[in-house]
Each structure stands twice: as C-alpha cells, then as structure tokens.
C-alpha cells in the first residue's frame, strides 16, 4: 500500500521510533472496515484512518512560550481527537511533549512532560479512557523546525498525539 509508505515518511518527520515499533503506525488500518465506499479505506479521506486523524483533525497542539495551557484552537483540535478516539476504540495513543530550544535541557524535559500531561488530562476529561493514553517528553531534543526564530519555535512547542494500534492484532 502506498499509504503505508506515506505513513512511515510522516512518522520519520515526527521523529518517531517508527522502525522500532511498527505497531504504533496502526494495525487497525488493515482490519478496519471503512464502510460507506465513497472513499478509499485507510486514505486521508477515510475518517477512520490515522491519516485523517493526523491531517484533518490535527495530531498536534501548540503552546505559548514556557506555557502548558491550552489555547481555544488547541481545545478544538483536542475535541476532534477525543471524538476520533472514542469512535476508533482500537487505538491507543502516546502523547509526546516537546519544547523549543530556548531553555535548559532538563527543564525542557519537565516542561514537555507538563504539556503532554495537559493534553492527556483534556482527552481523559472528554471521555477517552486513561488506560489508552500514555505520555512521554522529548524536551528540546526533537524539533520539527530548525530555524532559531519564533516562527520555528512556535511549531516546536507542541504536544503530538501519536496513534498506536495496540488493542487489535
């Protein structure tokens, strides 16, 4: 499937340990009967697909400098994520917290954890079972953007909800 290749590229861009753990890219893709037939199962237009989650709903939310509070935009994204997770119960997720480079390494690890946990708590409050959500922090170790100005920093201060098909074989 071409989509799988696309997934791996996307995962690599996100700095995921994709090659170590293929299951986190979604075992659910193959088995999930997509139904209506107006779109290709597993494609970006399939609302049950991880790509839909990633691209249409948005797999990440962004934070203000040194903050872990959620903006209205972030809440809207997370509302979409929780709906998707409540519908697609085969999936678990790891929420990755990240920081920009303007901080010390260990503080930023703690800050990334704080951001990831904020997202997790929001999703749990929205009804997603806590058992399906884990967090991890990468601090400033895995930036998406590499320039040293706010335009890049604002994209690096993020929490990314990474799906894994942990519940079905």
């Amino acid at each position: 499937m071409g989509n799988l290749g696309k997934w791996i590229i996307a995962a690599a861009l996100l700095g995921l340990a994709a090659c170590n753990d293929p299951s986190r890219l979604g075992d659910g893709m193959g088995g999930a009967a997509a139904g209506s037939g107006t779109f290709a199962p597993g494609s970006a237009s399939d609302p049950r697909s991880p790509i839909f989650f990633q691209e249409a709903i948005g797999d990440r939310v962004f934070f203000a400098n040194d903050q872990s509070g959620l903006s209205p935009e972030a809440r809207a994204t997370l509302d979409g994520q929780s709906q998707w997770l409540l519908t697609n119960t085969d999936y678990t997720a790891v929420i990755e917290g990240h920081a920009d480079e303007k901080g010390t390494r260990e503080y930023n690890l703690a800050l990334g954890a704080r951001r990831a946990n904020t997202v997790r708590e929001y999703l749990v409050t929205s009804g997603v079972p806590a058992s399906r959500l884990k967090t991890i922090s990468y601090g400033k170790e895995r930036p998406i953007e590499i320039c040293s100005v706010e335009a890049c920093y604002s994209k690096n201060r993020r929490a990314v909800t990474v799906l894994a098909g942990g519940l079905t074989g």
Partner: protein, 439 residues
C-alpha cells in the same frame, strides 16, 4: 587502570605541604584581577635511554600545553632558549634562563622500559635561583604517557598558584552528529584537553546529561533506550550499564551522585509534575524530597553532602533554591532578572555555577551559596550546563550556535571570566561533566 607510584627524589616535605613552597616571588594569585601570564620554559625532557627519546619530547609538550592553556602561563619557546638541559641532575644555569625572561623552568627526565614509563621532574624559580619544591617522580605505562605529563603539570600549577591542579582529569559528555531535527547522540569520554576520546554508547538511542561519580569510576545518565526516558548507571572501565529502578510508568532524569557515591538525586515526573527524589543505590529505597506542583529538577549536592541546590519554577519562572539534602524547607537564592537553571555546586563549596537566560541570551555564571556576588562569565545565543574543574577554578559548558546549522561544542572559562576557549572534539558535543582528579 594505570597505577602511579609517587616518590620523592629528595627528602623534602612536598607532598605534605605543597603550599609551603610558594613563599618566594614565583607565585600567581588566581583570584586577583591579573593577569600578565607568567613566562616559563620547559625544554625537552632528558631521555634516560634511547627508548624514551620520543616520550621525553612529547611529555614536555603536553606539560607546556597544560600550563599555557590555563591562560596563567606563557611559554618561552625553545627557539628563544639560550641554554639547554642535557643532564637532569646537573646544576641549572640560571643566567641562561633569566636572559630569556623565563621566570619558571621545568626540567624532566624520562625512562622507558618495556611498557613502563617513569618521569622525574623539577621546577625552578629562575629569578630566586632556587628549586621550587622538590623533585618528584611518577611511574606509569607508555600508553598512559599523557597522564604522567598531566600529573607533572598539575604539580607545577599547584606549586606556583597554591591551588589544586586539574589536568589529570577526564570529561564525560554527549557527542552529537547530524542536524538539529535528526541529531544522534552518544556518550563519550575524553581527557580534559580532548585527547584519548572513547565512545561509551552507540547512537541508537537518545542519551542525555551524563554525570561522573565522585571517584570518576561510574557515570549516571538519562537514556531513551527502553523507548522511555530513565536513568542508567555505567561502569566506565567495563563500559557496562544498568537501569536504575525507579517507579514504573514515570519519566526519571537529571541524576546526580551524592558526594559519598551511595545516593542518586534525580527528577521523577508523574502526571506532568516533576519533583526531586533520592534513591539509595544499595537498598533501592526511594525518597521524595519536594512536593510542589512546580517543576523541580537539576539537583546538585554540596561537597559535604548536607545540602542540595536545585532549580524550581515554583515562583513562576525557574530560579535556584537550596534545601537540606534530606528534603525540607527550600530557600531561594537567585533573585536577579531572568531565568536560572542547571545549578552545580563547586567542589570547593564556595560557589554555585548556573545557566542564566535573560533578554534572549544565555549566560554561564557563578554566585555565592547565599546568592550574593552573582557574576556572569559568558554570553551567547545558547550557553548551557556548567561543570566544575576538580579545583573549582575553571568551568566547562556547552555552547550551541544559532539557526538551522546550529552545532554544539564545549568551552571552558575561568571563574574570573577570562580564558574562554573551545575544547576540540571530533563531533559536536554537549552536556559535559568533569571528573575529579584521577588517582
């Protein structure tokens, strides 16, 4: 590891009281706002046998590099020498060395027998016309010749400055390759001057912030080896590692040894909140030291083990605090503008080094343990993570350059703010931790 024999060539009191040798004019007061570097000469050491010929030259060069590298000494190059030393035991022709304005003269002799190498050396105060301290001998291996040069240089430095030396020491750090968004990191160890680099992990997983044990035989660090950040302890000689047992499902990082090497202070994150804990290595008993909703991290013990300085954002932004090593009420010590992090207690106990972020710039600084007399030693786009030389006079840290091509390298600077210089490493480098003096 190499064992060194130390023996006095002359029956004097050098080892017991190296400080007593500084009454003469040949003295550098590091704490004064100097400095015109002290001129010295170190002619090639005398080979006792043909097998020692190369080592005799090389040792003298490393001694000279150590001393010059402090910024406190200036070498009179061999091309300017009038006199020479071809017999280690012959009387020194002081006039020859005065004429080239060498205030200190270091002579040495080297013998090599199989894998064994012995070096003897003497230090002379040229203008007083007297030996400074007594001759001394170090014995080790041919492969360990650089260490013996560092030991000689440590002695020379101590006799002239009255401070402990720091050349016979190592640095463990994170070696880095690749661009910022695909950076690969592995642990590496090297001599303090960048020589003898050796890699301790591969680049398969992310590793962060190694810290030496008080005796330099073990290293604590954080690794994502299990796909989740947790603390590992690595035996340096055997290059064997094991994970420290901390609570499941939580992120543990920022580990530091206590001065007796038995306890690890570290940060543990639970539900988004990071606090400081200690772990007794032998018993596995874990104790929570802080319990606020703030981020508490980067602990560092006082040299006597009774207190701990750490970083907390409980006031709204990261600041430095000191608390008893067993936990309890913490007292804030940083009050300047900006954000303070990564405090490290000096091995002398008098100062705390830190990273400060203010108005878009990063600084390495020092302050007294009550927070007074803050001094910023550096400024750049991103300076971070100070570590102390064994004598508490020099700080090493990492500097990352700006932008898409940003790269991290190691620098050192005196606590006076002088003598900022880069430590050459084959790859990028970050998170240095300076060992104690080796045995």
């Amino acid at each position: 590891m190499t064992r060194f024999l130390v023996s006095l060539l002359l029956g004097a009191t050098l080892l017991a009281a190296p400080v007593a040798a500084q009454d003469g004019p040949l003295r550098i007061e590091i704490t004064e706002g100097v400095i015109e570097p002290l001129p010295f000469a170190v002619p090639d050491f005398v080979p006792d046998n043909p097998a020692a010929a190369q080592a005799a030259k090389d040792l003298a060069r490393v001694v000279a590099a150590d001393l010059t590298g402090t910024g406190l000494f200036r070498e009179i190059p061999a091309s300017a020498h009038i006199g020479s030393v071809s017999d280690f035991n012959a009387p020194v022709q002081y006039a020859d060395w005065k004429a080239v304005n060498a205030q200190a003269l270091i002579t040495g002799a080297v013998s090599v027998s199989g894998q064994n190498l012995t070096v003897r050396f003497r230090v002379y105060d040229v203008f007083s016309g007297a030996e400074l301290g007594s001759g001394l001998q170090f014995a080790g291996t041919v492969d360990g010749w650089r260490r013996m040069a560092h030991k000689v240089a440590d002695q020379v430095y101590s006799r002239i400055t009255g401070e402990g030396g720091y050349f016979d020491s190592r640095v463990v750090f994170v070696s880095e390759t690749g661009p910022k968004n695909q950076r690969r990191k592995r642990l590496a160890i090297m001599d303090y001057d960048g020589a003898n680099i050796k890699y301790l992990t591969d680049s398969a997983e992310l590793v962060l912030a190694p810290r030496f044990s008080p005796t330099g035989d073990r290293v604590l660090y954080t690794s994502y080896e299990s796909d989740f950040p947790r603390i590992y302890v690595l035996d340096v000689d055997a290059v064997e590692r094991r994970a420290l047992q901390t609570a499941e499902g939580t992120m543990s990082f920022s580990p530091r040894f206590s001065p007796d090497g038995r306890t690890v202070a570290f940060s543990l994150e639970r539900g988004g909140n990071t606090d400081i804990y200690t772990l007794d290595i032998a018993s596995g008993q874990q104790t929570r030291l802080t319990s606020t909703p703030a981020i508490e991290t980067a602990p560092s013990y006082s040299p006597d083990g009774t207190q701990m300085v750490f970083e907390s954002d409980r006031s709204g932004a990261p600041q430095l605090y000191i608390m008893p090593a067993s936990g309890g009420e913490a007292k804030r010590i940083s009050f300047g503008q900006g954000r303070y992090g990564t405090p490290v207690w000096s091995p002398r106990g008098d100062l705390i080094a830190f990273t400060k972020q203010n108005k878009g710039r990063f600084h390495i600084g020092v302050m007294r343990t009550d927070g007074s007399e803050e001094r910023l030693l550096t400024a750049s786009f991103l300076d971070e993570g100070p570590t102390w030389a064994p004598n508490g006079r020099v700080i090493m840290f990492a500097r990352e350059t700006q932008g898409a091509d940003g790269r991290s390298t190691l620098y050192s600077v005196d606590i006076t703010g002088r003598n900022l210089k880069q430590i050459r490493t084959p790859e990028g480098a970050s998170d240095p931790s300076w060992s104690p003096l080796q045995n």
